[in-house]
Each structure stands twice: as C-alpha cells, then as structure tokens.
Amino acid sequence: MMAAYLSEVERGLASLPRRRRRELIRELEASLLDEAESAGLVSEEAMAAVLDGKESPAEIARELVAAEADTSRHRRQTKLLAGGAVGLATGGYLLILGMLLNRPWRFSLSFGLAMGLAVGVGIFWSRSRWQRFNPLTRYLLAMGLGTLLAIPLGFVLGKFFLWTWLSYGTFAGYLVERFQSKRRVLAWVEDNILFTAILFALSTIWFKSWFLEWSDWQFVLRAMLFNFVIQVGVWGGLHLHRMLDGHWLLKPNRA
C-alpha cells in the first residue's frame, strides 16, 4: 500500500534528477514509517487509513517539485549576487586605485571578475555542503577551496603566474567562515594584520625582497586597505545573501 503511494509520488517527481528524487522518497518513506510506528499500526488497513489522511501523491509531488524549482532559481541568483559583491568591492577599489596610479582598467575588471565569480560565487555555492562539519574542518575546506578557486587570479597580470595571489582566495574562504557569527571590530583589525603579514611573508619567498616591501609603509598601508576591501566585500556579500534568503523564505508561496 505504502509502496504504491510512494511510487506514485516518485512518478510525480520525474522532472527532478534521479538522486534528488530518491532522497525525497526516502525521506517521505521514513516519515510515513515513523507515523505508522508511533500509532502502533501493523495491518494494511491501518496503513491505508493513514494514507487516506494524507495529501494525494500528485499533490505532494507538485509541492516538492515547485519548491525544488524555486530553490534552484533562488540559489543561482543569490550566489551570483553575493559573489558579485566581493567582485564589485575588490574590482571597484582597484579601479579607483588604478585611476590614481594610472594603471589600466582591464586589470581591475579581470581581478574583480576572478575574485567575484570564481572565488565569491564558488565559495558561497559550495558552503552548504560542509556547514554541518566541525569549525576546524569548515575553515580548512573553505580556505582550501578558496585557494583553488583563486587560480584565475594568478593569471590576471597576464605575464606570469603569480602564485602568491592564491592567498586572496584563501583569505576570502577564511572570511566566509569567520563572518558566520558576529565579529568584534578588533577582530577585523587582527585578521587584517595577520593576513597582510602572511601575504608579505609569501611575497618575500617569491620576490626575495623583504626589506624593500616592509620599509615601504605606503605599500604596506595599501595592502592593508586592499585586504580591508576584501573583508568588506565578503561581509557585504554574506549580508546580502542572508537578506535575500530571509526575504525569499518569508514571501508568500506562489506555487
């Protein structure tokens, strides 16, 4: 009896990918079995009575399919917008800086696109897969993925691969996890100093010019300001993401 009910629901879910369809059916089956068990139902008649009180298989399938489509549309839009905030902040800052220092705008655009689309969208998109893990694992995964997604950043200059820039992806991944809970203002400063120091250490290994960079205080300040822009971009992206999520969840269901 229940198998027939579930198989009819599954037919209604035909438009969904097979894996997702199986997961939804598995969950519905578990719920029905829980109900039967809690009511002490053992006979087919009793199970039939439970199923009679349920929505029709077609109705339940329609609700599930509508929610899946709505979720998929919303996910695409929010991840793109949240990632866009990261790209806009970093690309915008570099554009202004570029105008002051007479640098080409193409650099700002490439950096903004790589930082926003690859790093921002990528991390926001993937984060749901690891959010149940313990904090250390979450940080490691976010930073690891951020580093990998930042590979396009290394090619932005177009002359050679600048591997030290992968650390911007690492930093963005770290910040996405860091901003999940409220942050003290001082923590922003601590993060900024720490990351700037790591970046300079990496640059020292790469360029072998420790003294030159650290003694140039304007260069240090610019690096810190840029890292602050990344912090604001990720923070803004996360807040935009949450605001859109909240609005979406509470809007009347059009299905």
Binding site: A30, E63, R132
Partner: protein, 108 residues
C-alpha cells in the same frame, strides 16, 4: 485560525522548533500538532519543501541517522545563520505585538 497566515509563518515556526534541538520530519509534525492543541496539522507537502528551502538558505542542515531498529531518519538542525535570523524576527515580532497591543489591547 487563518491557515494561510500559519502557512506563511512555517519557516519561522520550524526555526523556532529546531532552536530547541535537532528534529526529524514526523517529530516536527507531532510537536506542532501537540502545541496547537491539534488545531493545526502540518502536512508533508508543506513541511518538507519548507525544510528544504531553509536548508538551501543554510539556516538549517540535515543528516541521516540510523535508529537501533535499523530504520533511518533524516534529522534537521539549526545553524548559526538560522539562529541569527530567528532572533531578528523574534525582535521584530515583539515590536509588532507591542505596537498592536497599544491599539487593540486592554487600556489601563
């Protein structure tokens, strides 16, 4: 009671329940039924889409757990984002109730 109003509040109702601890689908249905004195029954067609949307918004997460009898259940647990959202909405709700109370409540 206006059922549409209740339906619109389902995400907050679910977050509020999950803020008490992880729950599985049928447990949520039963808890809602018990707390509303049986006046509101959350149907599967409303519950699971709402839970899946909350999960997509990263306000909750889910995991499967095998019971001693070998059966599996999918548990849902609130996440930091869900707690922050719920707290904000609770504050808004209190402000709203206080304001309306000033008009429709008893006058001293």
């Amino acid at each position: 009671m206006d059922r549409e109003l209740l339906k619109g509040s389902t995400p907050l109702l679910l977050l509020s329940l999950l803020s008490e601890g992880p729950m599985y689908g049928y447990q949520i249905i039963e808890t809602v039924r018990a707390r509303t004195g049986g006046s509101y029954t959350l149907k599967e067609g409303a519950l699971y889409p709402a839970l899946h949307k909350l999960e997509a918004a990263e306000f909750i997460s889910s995991y499967w757990e095998t019971q001693p009898n070998g059966r599996e259940r999918r548990y849902y647990a609130i996440q930091a984002g869900g707690t922050a959202f719920l707290d904000a909405k609770k504050r808004e709700w209190k402000q709203f109730v206080d304001m309306v109370q000033g008009f429709v409540g008893p006058r001293g």
